[in-house]
Amino acid sequence: MKPFRSVMIATLMASAATSAVASTAIINGAGASFPHPIYARWAEDYNTETGTRINYQAIGSGGGIRQITAKTVDFGATDAPLNIERLDKENMIQFPMVMGSIVPVINVPGIEPGQLRLDGKTLADIYLGKIKRWNDDAIVRLNPGLNLPRRAIYVVHRSDGSGTTYNFTDYLSRVSPEWKENIGANTDISWPSAATTIGGNGNAGVANFVSRTRGAIGYVEFAFAKQNDLTYTQLQSADGKFLQPTMETFQAAAANADWANAPGFKLLLNNQPGADSWPMTAATFILMHKDQVDGDKARTILNFFEWSYEHGNEQAIALDYIPMPDSVVSMVSDLWKNELSTVNGEPVR
């Protein structure tokens, strides 16, 4: 029966632990599934270039945090950043590695990709179940020229816990006081019962329900919307301009963010200032322990990340990820110098 699952997980964790101890040439990381395609690609290219093997297991952000806390992996990865108190308590550092963006996708007959305009409050009201039809005044007011049908809105969300949901609900919390007050942000939330909701498993599940159900609205990673030809919408930036989801607007969001004043790099890029900042952009983070048992191994890990920052942008853009701006990369580099050391107290860098 299913309780065996926990035994299986324990066994897997035990075997992961032994393999990490047995070999120093292989770097093991685990965590968020959202950046898995790009981490895997970087790891492969880096392996061809240097011969160092990087193993990345996409077990989910929660799993990544648990594994790095238990020191069964060399680095952890999470979409939902830890706060500075938790980092200090676990004696870990955290830094952003790469960014992605989330777009609303819809299925309304007669509406083409990039046509429909939405603002944050309207999006929140749709997910709250306050706006129930596509020809609601709030949507019509934003889209004077469009012919919107009197169709019921079906709200599609992720049924599995995910960083995408975390960032999406964080955005809604920033633009709608009512959402913040009653619902909040997390990797998995209690969805408002006033809306007609459908839960899809993974980006693929959400994309499937949206493309199949007339009147549906959902949220997916941009790469997914693009690859599946979903009808994405425009979204209003924090400064009031309506934007198309493009690499330029995503990069603007990252460039305009105030990283220097974010302790532990805990910064969500949703609703950042700047007229051209796409409002649903999110970084994904790496976690490492401050005290490294094996200095050489720690250097190998940092070399990989440094290489990814310097030589990995092309691959990232090809996979619809957004590279970190140079200013952030140099801040991360300082962090490595100042915070990481071996257990003997020698600096790693």
Binding site: N186, D188, I198
Partner: protein, 309 residues
Amino acid sequence: MPTISLPKRPDGDTLFFRLSFSSAVLILLVLTGIVLSLIDGGWMALREFGPGFVFRNIWDPVNGQFGAASAVYGTLVSSLIAMVIAVPLSLGVAIFLAELAPDWVSQPVGMAIELLAAVPSIIYGMWGLFVFAPWFSDGFQMWAADHLVDLPLIGHWFDGPPIGIGLLTAGIILAIMILPIVSSLVRDALKTVPNVLREAAYGVGATPFEVVTKVLLPAIKNAAVGASILGLGRALGETMAVAFVIGGANRIETSLFMPASSISSTIAQQFNEATDPLHISSLIGLGIVLFMLTFVVMGFARVLLKKKR
């Protein structure tokens, strides 16, 4: 008279006894270990919410409020739907294959059914989501919205959005999944009924229908109930297939078209990304609830079997 004592050495029988005994003990140890580790993992949630955890109808990871009621409801209702569909269907399949069909039909069909049991559950889930759900939405739910909603008593079961997923879809997929196991067990049971019984019944002029209902089914009643319980056990614990089609909403709704959640699907979908210790603990607590639920259902079935005997 002096007795000769042979030098003591372990003989084959003792060795065999010890080996099989330790295998049996191992099962008990593993089971105890699982229960203990579940309680250990779920302790925080049990301490926070008390035994009322089972009946609390809230699942709000943001505010750290958890309760199992909606997941228990989804598990029980989807399994019930599966049983209502699968048990009569399995009996029919088994009777046809064992009693009525000629060999050239029953053998390939029997093998096909056994192959169905070997299909991984994730395949059922994906088939359910990508093939069955769209068809179910257009073919049944649209029709039900026009014709069934106004029925007295059961009308509200069909009052929901025609999106193709939800409790009813999960129940139907589960029914398809437990059909092979139940029907092949019942078929095997029918084959063990001695032929003299059939011959005697036909001899006194019974029709095939009477032979099946008055002689064969009473003879295999226990086996049929046992087979159904095995099927129910699978339905209660099934994870991936349900996770795909149930819709992942932690609410209790009377409409069978509405999205819901089951215990195992909630655990599978949320465990990976859960970071709050109370959230993780509550998910493990759900595991305890499922464990108890299965235990109670199996115990109840045992009692039922004893009474029938």
